[in-house]
Symmetry: C2
Subunit: 226 residues, 2 copies
DNA sequence: CGCGGCTTTGATGTTCATCAAGTAAAGTGG
DNA sequence: CCACTTTACTTGATGAACATCAAAGCCGCG
């Protein structure tokens, strides 16, 4: 990554409308951080001090419910922002974020973002749109999951990884069976059972973390019907 | 309601930061509409042309899934905006909105809002915060519902009406049993069964649409545990 | 090399959806 | 305003879907 945001190849389209003074502000209040797999970026309850952009890697956004149960709210892939959900509504994070593989982050001071929002209406509008889109997607995912049975949810999550994250019918699952369960409100045993069932029925090929979609149409049908 | 937004008693705090030119813009591009119970305000797929504020009444935001099944996403009560969820991310609504009782709306042209966002950074920031808050709440509700069993969900929804909407332990249910089911992903029969169960156990008093919480502590416990 | 967490399968019980059937309430057209 | 139709409400019975418990093999890590 270059020293200068203006020419950074990882830059989000969000910042396309900034002027030189704003570029300079941004550039002076940011830093890059590398995190190994399994690092906690922040926890629910931590004060919000930064605006965080994922350059490389994969993150999970989650919360801890009750005693020791975790509920995964979403997966963030590169070129996306995290914690965008509540940086403007609260002073502390409502969800935790952890890396699920080696990741690189660009961290910008939140006050700088606020300042630029106030100075630059175009930027504000773009940010509004972005937040809106992210929230729509998250909510839609939750609503869909609610309506599906376990087979449907399992199909849905495989398709999500294949289409949205890896853009391939063949990929390595970045998460454990347990984490899949936490992501789609199931029990680990049932995730395993249904994955085995899909394999037995020739819908997917799966061996450990390696997964390949063998019968896409059927998987889509299960995801939609279930 | 007065002719002038600046002195309107129903005005949202969102607009506190506007200057005279902006007030005038706002005032010239709005209209008030009264709708009887059961009216459709807009449907999923309709083009987004307005920014709608609820002055009086109660609305439900919902979507139609599959053939004829409806899923209610949320309830909007006065002094709140509707469709704030995706007015900046899409050109058409992703959810439908209908009145569940007689309601009065203030309808503002969406282009005016966009214009003011670009002109006034403070307003943009306030709007960001508002959207963020609404989205947080919606998502949180969904995540909670996912984790609860049917008794827990039923308790949750009773408490939601009592605390958030009516601010009283005694109120008239504005929705049918069927709509409650659609709101918390249950079947109508089970909503009825569990309400009867709560009555039998002395947790609530219920007769038709009239409901009174008799044992708040127990209801809260069921909502949290379930 | 041993411990703890992940994975897998089977057996069992609980929760919930579905079907059925009847009553009550509310809207509709003559 | 009344007969009629539809929609809401209610209870019971049944089976399917799912959670839970148990047990054993696997794998990575200190």
């Amino acid at each position: 990554m270059k020293d200068n945001c203006e020419v950074c190849e990882h830059r989000s389209y969000l910042f396309d409308d900034l002027d030189p003074a704003e570029w300079s502000l941004l550039n002076n209040s940011r830093k890059e951080v590398a995190c190994k797999k399994g690092s906690i970026i922040y926890r629910e309850g931590d004060p919000i001090e930064n605006f965080i952009y994922l350059i490389k890697g994969l993150l999970k956004v989650f919360r801890t419910v009750g005693d020791r149960k975790e509920q995964i709210i979403g997966i963030t892939d590169p070129m996306d922002f995290i914690g965008l959900l509540n940086i403007f509504s609260k002073s502390t994070y409502i969800y935790s974020v952890a890396t699920i593989e080696y990741s690189e982050l660009c961290i910008i001071d939140i006050e700088t973002i606020r300042k630029i929002v106030k100075m630059n209406g175009r930027f504000a509008l773009t940010l509004l749109e972005k937040m809106s889109l992210m929230n729509d997607r998250l909510l839609e995912t939750r609503l869909s999951i609610n309506l599906k049975n376990l087979r449907g949810r399992t199909a849905y999550i495989i398709l999500l990884f294949a289409r949205d994250i890896y853009k391939s019918n063949r990929f390595e699952l970045p998460v454990s069976r347990k984490e899949i369960a936490e992501l789609i409100d199931m029990r680990t045993e049932n995730v395993i059972r249904i994955l085995s069932e899909f394999r037995r029925d020739g819908i997917i090929k799966i061996e450990g973390k390696n997964i390949e979609i063998a019968d896409l149409q059927r998987l889509v049908r299960i995801s939609e019907f279930g």
